[in-house]
Amino acid sequence: MTDHERWARDIEADLDGELTLAEQAALARHLAVCPTCAGTRASHLELRASLARASGHPRAKVMPRQVLRGRTLALLALLAALAGAGGGWLAHARWGGPGSGGLEASRATIDIR
């Protein structure tokens, strides 16, 4: 694999948002001194722009994949639990519920005083 081919792979990975900050810095330094690779990057961008235009999204741009963080997930779970509890409380206040005692507890009893 030549140097240009390796840099071309890095250019594609950069456009996909898959390079680390150090790799992005190395690529930027190389593009500043290598017109061939700069041209390759420009042609990659033009290709992606034309593909996006063809699919009806002229302003489309590549976004890195969203990662659902653990804390966000916990917050969403908490919000869902609170919504469920609130809904249950409202439903009980509105329509009542089975109550604390069973059917037998609500029935009449005959005791000797």
């Binding site: 509105r94 009542g96 507890a105 029935r107 009449a108 009893t109 005959i110 000797i112």
Partner: protein, 285 residues
């Protein structure tokens, strides 16, 4: 005859003679409400009648109706109190905001001594730390009839937030029917009949205006059998009689039903007259 057998027969005879078929049964009722530390009497009442008399008791609140039919089965030294209960409770509301009720039917019985006072919790045994508690105190006694044969009912309600009903349930073997014809302010001479259910039909002439007399054929009949489970449990047809009135000239047949509670019932007749009938327990013979 062995001595032990003779003694048993003598004891049974003495017990039967002491209670006898002519004894009168009485249900003394007191409804009490405890609210915190205060206990108040909601209502009192008494139902009495022959030994086969049952007590139809109803305690009604805004959210719960409990109706029961209590019967006693006497034994020499004790009696069994049996109750058929029908409870209707507010269970919640529908999606459109209409109240939803649940109906519950069950039976309870307990053997008691004649001196016992029964505490009946119509809404179930309250929880240990409940602030509010309602119960019915019931005392069943027997006494010599003293010439009184007809059932009697008395209710004294002191708290209007509750409704208390007490009815004597005795199947009438005879009934006195008071009949009168009414038109505007005028009325006919009231007539009294002593009738037996399913007895021989009687004929009757009543007239407010002598120019237009009514010729009736009347007959006392038992009511239609109870249809719903609630009516059956509370024996709502047991203490009701129906008066079947037919006018042969008009080929019309009418029916008036009711308890023997001295309440006048009205029946509109063709021609503008109104027949007023009152069912009463017959006097002692």
């Amino acid at each position: 005859m062995r001595r032990s057998t003779f003694a048993s027969l003598a004891l049974a005879g003495a017990v039967l003679a002491s209670q006898g078929p002519a004894a009168r049964l009485s249900y003394g009722v007191r409804v009490l409400l405890r609210n915190g530390a205060d206990t108040n009497v909601v209502g009192t009442g008494e139902v009495a009648g022959p030994m086969e008399t049952g007590l139809r008791l109803g305690v009604h609140t805004d959210s719960t109706d409990v109706d029961m039919l209590l019967n006693t089965f006497p034994e020499p030294d004790s009696f069994t109190l049996s109750g058929d209960f029908v409870a209707t409770r507010l269970a919640g509301a529908s999606r459109r905001g209409l109240p939803v009720y649940e109906q519950d039917e069950y039976r309870r019985h307990r053997r008691l001594a004649w001196t016992d006072t029964v505490r009946l919790h119509p809404f179930g045994t309250p929880r240990a730390r409940a602030r509010r508690e309602l119960w019915v105190e019931l005392r069943v006694t027997t006494a010599a009839p003293g010439g009184i044969t007809r059932p009697s009912e008395r209710v004294d309600l002191r708290d209007s937030t509750f409704d208390l009903t007490l009815e004597a349930v005795v199947r009438p073997r005879r009934a006195t029917v008071l009949l009168a014809l009414v038109r505007g302010d005028a009325n006919s001479v009231p007539l009294q009949f002593d009738l037996v259910p399913d007895g021989i039909p009687r004929t009757l002439d009543l007239a407010v205006d002598p120019a237009r007399p009514h010729h009736f054929e009347l007959r006392l009949t038992p009511p239609e059998p109870a249809r719903t489970a609630r009516e059956r449990a509370l024996a709502l047809d047991a203490d009701v009689v129906c008066l079947r009135l037919s006018e042969p000239a008009l080929t019309s047949v009418s029916m008036l039903c009711g308890r023997l509670n001295n309440v006048a019932r009205r029946l509109a007749l063709p021609g503008g007259d109104t027949l007023v009938a009152t069912f009463v327990w017959p006097a002692a013979r």
